[in-house]
């Protein structure tokens, strides 16, 4: 690892060989690193077995992949939430090459606003199914609108005046906004996690495949994320404004010459990113049933890791990275304990940065060409 990172200054003769070594390690090293945890746990479950329960005072040891499968399903559905947030990072980075540090906190505000809103319109355990579905749909729209406009506002106040300043300047205002939003959250609901009504009874099993239960929360995460990602992909590929976004990401000057309003396009990018973060905020609140002011910071870092893992600037990459990080995080929660998850995810972040800074699919930014 050290030898590779020193190649920047090695003499020319070495560079060729070392670059090839790095290429191979970058290609396979990351994939091996990603597979190590799941494979290790799968093998361990099959060979050594695990305790599935207690019967008459004796632990029941079983040798199968059910527990593994459940972690995998939860990891995927958690990953759906990270994917929604990661898309916001990736869109913004793709277009103005800024790590929008405040994005995680916009997501947190999304959770707070949606929980507040469904309380206001009176959704509760007594609400009927139809009312619940309709009410939550309305909440989703409101959450998306709130977070989208918040993100646009932050861009207008904090980033647009610094468009021509050195790169560190907007990054620092982003950190500043992150702190301001955290303080808003702190004043809003206090400094410790707050439980919210488990409206969907998220733990209820919908169906199970060979012993692996799929819960309502998992269905919810898939059901919200997949249509949104499809809609976004269509928008970027086909809609006029979406094509303007891609053009601006590639070359803002050329885009301006072609008659694209660059400032408005950047605002639109922040709007889309914020809307997805708002949707993620609602799903998170229903899924975890606790919210607190610090969730945005943690989620933001996890989602940023996801975006980098997939290749920043790349929507498919963000979704893939989100799913992978979700699985890693769930395995770490289940096997090492949730208190270590932060360290595990960050260790992966550093590994990715060292082994393959372009990500799995490849980044789509101006610097990458």
């Amino acid at each position: 690892m050290e030898a590779r990172s020193l190649t920047a200054s090695t003499p020319a003769g070495w560079t060729g060989t070392l670059a090839r070594v790095r290429e191979t390690a970058g290609g396979w090293g990351l994939i091996v690193a990603l597979l190590i945890l799941p494979v290790y746990f799968a093998v361990k479950d099959l060979t050594k077995g695990y305790q599935a329960g207690v019967m008459a005072g004796h632990p029941i040891i079983v040798h199968n992949l059910t527990q593994f499968g459940e972690t995998l399903v939860q990891g995927l559905s958690n990953g759906m939430i990270w994917a929604l947030i990661a898309i916001g990072y990736t869109l913004v980075y793709g277009i103005i090459e800024l790590i929008n540090f405040a994005h995680g906190d916009v997501f947190m505000i999304g959770s707070f606003a949606t929980v507040g809103f469904w309380g206001t319109i009176g959704l509760g355990f007594a609400t009927g199914t139809l009312g619940l579905v309709f009410g939550l749909f309305l909440t989703l729209i409101v959450g998306m609108a709130v977070c989208g406009s918040l993100n646009v506002l932050i861009e207008r106040v904090g980033y647009r005046p610094l468009r021509n300043a050195p790169k560190l300047a907007p990054l620092i205002t982003a950190v500043g906004f992150s702190f301001i939003l955290q303080n808003v959250g702190l004043l809003w609901l206090g400094g410790s996690p707050v439980g919210v009504n488990d409206l969907l009874r998220q733990g209820a099993v919908v169906f199970s495949i060979s012993g692996v239960d799929v819960h309502r929360a998992d269905v919810l995460a898939f059901g919200v994320t997949i249509p949104l990602v499809i809609a976004l992909t269509w928008f970027l590929a086909s809609a006029r404004a979406g094509r303007a976004m891609r053009a601006t990401a590639q070359d803002p000057e050329a885009a301006r010459l072609m008659g694209i309003n660059v400032d408005r396009t950047i605002s639109l990018t922040f709007l889309l990113g914020g809307m997805l973060a708002g949707a993620a905020g609602l799903v998170y609140a229903l899924y975890q049933t606790t919210i607190w002011y610090f969730q945005g910071f943690e989620a933001g870092l996890i989602a940023f890791t996801a975006a980098v893992m997939g290749g920043i600037g790349n929507v498919r990459g963000a979704v893939l990275g989100g799913l992978i990080i979700g699985i890693i995080q769930q395995f770490s929660d289940a096997r090492f304990g949730p208190e270590w998850t932060g360290a595990v995810v960050f260790a992966y972040l550093i590994l990715i940065m060292v082994l393959r800074p372009h990500g799995l699919i490849g980044e789509e930014t101006r610097e990458a060409g």
Binding site: L98, I172, G176, L301, M353, E367
Partner: protein, 398 residues
Amino acid sequence: MSELIAQLTEWRDAVLERLPPWWPRALAAILIAIGILLPFAFGETSGFIDATIKALAFVVMALGLNIVVGFAGLLDLGYVAFYALGAYSMGWFASGFFYKAHVHILSSALSTVPGIHFNFLLVLLSAALICAVFGAIIGLPTLRLRGDYIAIVTLAFGEIIGTIAVNGTDIHLTGGNGTPSDPGMTLTAGNLGIPALDLPYFPGIGKFQLLNLRAWYWLIFAILLLVLFVNIRLRDSRLGRAWVALREDEVAAVSMGIPAVRTKLLAYSIGATFGGMSGAFLGAYYTTVNASQFAFSFSIFVLAMIIVGGLGSIWGAVLGALLLSYINFYFIPDVFNSLPGTFGLNFSLTDLSFGIFGFLLVLVMVLRPQGLFPERRRKLELTQEIERDQAMLQEPTT
């Protein structure tokens, strides 16, 4: 407004011209004398001196971070790692925490007490060494990365060290027999904190007291003078110019023969050293090392100091750190805390400290990106870069 500023600048230049050539030295001597005599103006346990001691420790921190971020241009968001390592050095090597060891070197603790008890200066030195090594280790993976990725990797390292500090109670160094008298030694004491750190002791001077803050004040003032001296000498040295050159244009600097890897790693190491020294002092001053101190917001607090002061400017870092520390340790909790209450609002100002610092960061960046007391070269760069970009917009690029 701008006319007024121009007029003021003119007056300032006129005054500077008439001063004798030895005035900077005279000013420095006067400031140092004021600094030494300051505690006599306040009581031995004055809240203001307490805030000043913390503020000076943060000035040392800010000077360290200024080397990494200001001079070398490597945005480090994980500076809290060195605060943690410095404070834990003090916790490990100057308390009864490792109760199975029994080492005493010129310590204030009774020689019958178990644990590792080194003299304060020895711990300070070991904190500096540990942080120098860790600074280089954290720097290594960032060498090939571009600016904002460096920020994220350093942040990740800071968070990993914070997580280890909180969960260090699960990391067993030696087994115990499980009784309260022999629980086994762990890496850290987590959120409970390592208690009862040794008070600093100097042969011939004696042991420090918690109820007399003056000795603490002079100690951190001496450390600050040392760090300040090293900082100024570094800035004007070959290494200092190499840092600035790398910050301005890495490709050009490397092609002029500057060893990029060594120069960057030295920036991380030296910056980390100062952070570790300050962390060790703060550990001893608080007499406890608690994992909850080592949060990301600490890194941002120190970063805000050097940004408000002016990135890359030594005096900017000093004044920015003093300003924000006094706001944080004196004005917010002591002076203005009940201010929202007097307007009938239902919170105290300490609840807002996060937001106040965030707001300051945004405000300074948007209104005055070069900081309050900018380094001359950085100021030129900031204005010229904008002019150059605008010039490029008007000409067709290749």
